[in-house]
């Protein structure tokens, strides 16, 4: 049964079991939050969402207080607003004054709230934390505890979404510290580098290490894409700046995965710009005809084994991708790889399949499909195998 209540003099209704925050959002009334995230459990820690409830002894946190029939809520009472400002001011007294250089400026919930509430930077001579910056050698997650507001969103994201329970708080009071495991390095603390914690951090305390300095959210263009790593089909946004992918951000509206991604989806994008990435098929010279002619007319390219090795060596040292390609035709032997076009390559494969089948029948084939393919692609693979290759010997790499 829906519950009816009044928020800021407006009658609203909300489903039974909803919180004041849920009810307000349903009614289009904004209540500021920091520790709340719709994907995570509510803990009522940050105190930003406090509201006045008629008859209650003290302010209530909207994110945790269930609605009651007839409840009268004022989200903008003088007490509530003053408390929010006080909370923000207190947080700033223990925060570095670094918005200028901060990775997440423009995409920081604390910065936005401070702006919205007109809170001034509090100068004071008291204690401020001075944790070492980036103390963890893991390759993906950059930690700056000085910016941590102890909202516990990372803890809940890791525990509730990723089920890894890597993060927790150690010590208490002002000394409270976000720690991985028993205050260890992330990779020693069961972290699988999925980056969920980074995605849920409202401030610049946890950021993507590989992306630092490469472009703030306000400086990038985003392209929604589907992950090419596996058949789950997670969606995320590639953050592009200057034609380069600088970061992957997950999105709440991604239909399959929401904010969640695995290490490959979130951090495994470097192959895209890798000079060694294959973008066209390579076929050994001996399976092709008219190599000389196509190479001379620059339709195909010769990739010599020797050159390829040194090029690999050079490209890891920063040499350009073109180093892979050589026109030293004298090096062409039977086994030399020729970079051809897709039609040619597929013709070679099809021709060889047909010849094998003629000579030995379907039993000559066994097919191993890939987990990187979608269900539909794997279905087509099965069709190809059973109907064209005439064998039932098909399996899948994910069957371990």
């Amino acid at each position: 049964m829906p519950v009816s209540l009044t928020i800021n003099n407006r009658s609203c209704s909300a489903p039974d079991g909803a919180t004041i925050l849920d009810a307000a959002r349903l009614a289009g009334i904004e209540i500021p939050t920091l520790c709340h995230h719709p994907d995570l459990s509510n803990v009522g820690a940050c105190r930003m969402c406090v509201v006045s409830v008629q008859g209650a002894r003290a302010l209530q946190t909207a994110c945790t207080t269930p609605v009651r029939d007839g409840m009268v809520v004022d989200t903008m009472s003088a007490d509530a607003v003053a408390t929010r400002k006080f909370v923000l001011e207190m947080l700033l007294t223990d925060h570095p004054n670094d918005c200028m250089g901060c990775e997440v400026a423009g995409d920081c919930e604390l910065q936005d709230l401070v702006y919205d509430h007109g809170v001034q930077w509090p100068e004071h001579s008291g204690q401020r934390h001075d944790w070492p910056i980036d103390p963890d050698p893991n390759p993906f997650i950059f930690i700056d505890r000085n910016k941590c507001i102890l909202c516990s969103r990372c803890i809940r994201a890791c525990g509730e979404i990723q089920n890894r329970d890597v993060w927790s708080f150690a010590q208490r009071g002002f000394a409270t510290k976000l720690v991985a495991g028993a205050d260890e390095m992330l990779l020693d603390a069961r972290c699988e580098s999925c980056g969920q914690c980074v995605a849920y951090c409202p401030v610049g305390a946890l950021t993507d290490k590989m992306s630092r300095g490469k472009g703030r959210t306000t400086q990038v263009e985003t392209v929604r894409t589907t992950c090419s790593y596996c058949g789950v089909g997670c969606n995320f946004d590639l953050n592009i700046r200057g034609g380069q992918i600088v970061r992957v951000t997950s999105a709440q509206d991604a239909p399959v995965n929401g904010m969640a991604l695995c290490v490959k989806g979130r951090y495994g994008y470097d192959y895209v710009h890798n000079p060694e990435r294959l973008t066209r098929p390579l076929v050994r010279a001996k399976w092709l005809t008219g190599v000389e002619e196509k190479v001379n007319s620059n339709q195909w390219t010769v990739i010599s084994q020797a050159e390829k090795r040194t090029a690999t060596h050079r490209s890891t040292n920063g040499a350009s991708a073109t180093a892979l390609i050589t026109d030293n035709r004298s090096l062409i032997t039977d086994d030399t790889f020729i970079q051809t076009d897709w039609d040619t390559a597929l013709d070679v494969v099809a021709g060889k399949f047909a010849a094998e089948k003629m000579a030995h029948g379907g039993d000559a084939f066994a097919v191993l499909a890939s987990a990187k393919c979608t269900n539909e692609e794997n279905f087509l693979f099965a069709k190809l195998t059973r109907q064209l290759l005439s064998t039932n010997s098909i399996d899948h790499c994910a069957r371990l």
């Binding site: 209530q60 269930p66 003053a82 207190m90 008291g126 204690q127 708080f169 009071g173």
Partner: protein, 617 residues
């Protein structure tokens, strides 16, 4: 229905506990007295009785706390009720030979009233006990807490029998509501109302939880009840469980209370053996069992939601209410949390009736209050007084007034979450509402007396430091606000405060009170606010005159030798650790203020009171 298990104690136990002519010696074995070797006193007394062939005629009994711990080990010889203080094992032979055999009290071991210098023989005649009314502590110092027979002989578990076999849960709750027992953990919420809420919640299982975390510095009321009369708490919990419909529960006890935990475990085992815990209790068909959980060593774990988080093995941090524990508590299930004393009252109320309970104390706060009286009073210790007694009566009549003839300055109730009262409020009655009205609180029962030598700014700073150390860190107003307040108080005691700092203290206090998640942060500013209210002049002296009126803040004082009084005995110079004092034998001595560390040693050792403390410097 199977035959109810007999609650009739062994005849020996009844005789031992209830026969006024029984000859026995009580030896306190609470934490205080045990730490000053009362166990050895007990052994020595037994040995001495054997030597005199009296081991069968006179019982030596381990008991719970008498409350007068500063005079421990305490030993009382019955039937004379002769109260011996500071008894050592080597005094055993005198007690046995002179008193038990010879019938003459050992004068040397009697309590001497410091004011009248009169020796007091019987324990109820000592001023410390004069205005006390020991109900909750009634069995402490009387029964052997490790002998369930003694508890049974004191009508123990009769209330449980009555509740389980004669009353419905609703009738029990009505009786508790009518008694108006208010929670003794500090909040003063009516216990019966809380039980009613828990009963109404339709979800199983339900839990009863006893809050025995007692984290206030210097408090030991709950410890004494658990050590001296553990069965009263257990009986109260089983009654509560039956009333709300719970069949299991926890006693969350501070891990720093090993003796209380041991006694609880012994008591639980005995109760289980007699069928008072477990299945089909007293043949009623009601099942219930309890277990002891050791605390996680944090003050905040006394807050009920943090306590339940801790029971579940989580970090001891509070969670916001609602939902209240009665609706969703430990493991998400309805839970009733009460303080040790609240449970310990329960069997007494159910046995004697709500009317009896309401006849004690005041209308709005019936019953008694248990305090740990400490600080600068003549007599300190654990006391139980009827509600409505004035603060002055406690300090002057029970405590014997301020120690060492000094002047009274303030009394703090409610520990680090309470407030202080100055002289003009000493006639405030001690009850939940009167204390709250003047800015102090009942709290769970700490009462600290400060004399004129206490610096009230430092007093406030001490409590704020406690909060900074004990804040759980979950919410910003408390985690950061308390530190900002402490930093200002530090500055003021160092003579670097400004008048704006006073406004800033008020502003921070308001932010913490309004914004903090739990009672710790909400109440933590109270001590500072009450000192600001009653002793603002001391703050101003520190800020404007750079002076500490109580001569305590090191940054604001200097030591000076009064030439006319100095005899040149050289004692000060020899004792000064920083070689700051120079002077010839029989010549006037001088302190070099630059070398002086202001430790105060010279003032302490000077027999001629020639060392003077000056503030401002």
């Amino acid at each position: 229905m199977s035959t109810p298990i007999s609650l009739t104690p062994q005849p020996e136990a009844t005789l031992a506990v209830n026969d006024p002519a029984h000859r026995w010696i009580a030896v306190c074995m609470g934490t205080g007295c045990s730490s000053s070797a009362s166990t050895e006193v007990g052994a020595a007394l037994r040995e001495e009785l054997v030597k005199n062939g009296l081991e069968n005629g006179v019982e030596v009994r381990r008991t719970g706390c008498f409350g007068f711990c500063e005079q421990g080990p305490i030993t009382v010889v019955y039937p004379d009720e002769t109260f011996y203080t500071q008894v050592k094992p080597q005094n055993a032979s005198k007690i046995v030979q002179e008193h038990v055999v010879g019938g003459q009290p050992v004068e040397r071991l009697l309590y001497k009233d410091p004011a009248s210098a009169v020796l007091v023989e019987k324990w109820h005649e000592i001023g410390f006990y004069g205005k006390q009314q020991r109900i909750l502590l009634g069995n402490c110092g009387v029964i052997d807490p490790e002998n369930i027979g003694h508890y049974l002989a004191k009508d123990g578990y009769q209330a449980l029998r009555k509740c389980l076999l004669e009353l419905t849960p609703e009738e029990i709750i009505d009786e508790m509501i009518s008694s108006n027992l208010r929670g003794r953990g500090g909040g003063g919420f009516p216990a019966g109302m809380k039980w009613k809420l828990a009963r109404q919640t339709q979800s199983w299982p339900k839990y009863v939880i006893c809050n025995a975390d007692e984290g206030d510095p210097g408090a030991f009321m709950d410890r004494s009840v658990l050590e001296g009369d553990p069965h009263s708490v257990i009986e109260g919990m089983i009654i509560a469980a039956y009333a709300i419909g719970a069949d299991r529960g926890y006693i969350y006890c501070r891990a720093e209370y090993p003796l209380a935990i041991e006694r609880l475990k012994i008591a639980l085992a005995q109760a289980r053996q007699l069928g008072l815990l477990g299945e089909n209790i007293l043949g009623s068909g009601f099942n219930c069992d309890l277990e002891v959980k050791e605390g996680a060593g944090a003050f905040v774990c006394g807050e009920e939601t943090a306590l339940m988080a801790s029971i579940m093995g989580e970090r001891g941090q509070p969670w916001p209410r609602p939902p209240y524990p009665a609706v969703a508590g430990v493991w998400g299930q309805p839970s009733n949390v009460n303080n040790v004393k609240s449970y310990a009252y329960t069997p007494r109320i159910m046995r004697n009736g709500a009317d009896w309970f309401r006849s004690i104390g005041t209308e709005k706060s019936p019953g008694t209050a248990v305090f740990a009286l400490t600080g600068q009073v003549q007599r300190t210790g654990l006391i139980e007084v009827p509600m409505g007694i004035t603060v002055r009566e406690i300090i002057e009549d029970i405590g014997g007034g301020v120690a060492l003839g000094k002047r009274f300055k303030a009394v703090q109730t409610g520990g680090p979450l309470g407030g202080c009262l100055p002289e003009q409020y000493l006639d405030t009655p001690v009850d939940f509402d009167s204390l709250r009205a003047v800015g102090a609180v009942m709290g769970s029962g700490g009462m600290i007396v400060a004399d004129e030598t206490t610096c009230m700014v430092e007093f406030a700073r001490y409590f704020m430091k406690f909060v900074v150390d004990e804040s759980c860190g979950k919410c910003p107003p408390c985690r950061i606000g308390s530190l900002r307040m402490l930093e200002i108080l530090d500055r003021i005691t160092e003579g670097e405060g400004t008048l704006e700092d006073l406004d800033e203290l008020h502003r921070l206090a308001e932010g913490m009170q309004r914004g903090s998640l739990c009672g710790l942060g909400q109440l933590a500013p109270s001590p500072v606010l009450s000192v600001l209210r009653f002793f603002e002049d001391e703050f101003r002296a520190h800020i404007i005159d750079k002076a500490c009126p109580a001569h305590k803040c090191k940054a604001l004082i200097t030591f000076d030798i009064v030439a006319e009084l100095c005899t040149g005995c050289m004692v000060c110079g020899r004792n000064c650790g920083s070689n700051a004092i120079t002077g010839e034998k029989r010549g006037v001595h001088v302190i070099d203020p630059d070398l002086c560390e202001r430790c105060g040693m010279c003032a302490e050792v000077c027999k001629f009171d020639a060392v003077r403390i000056v503030s401002p410097r």
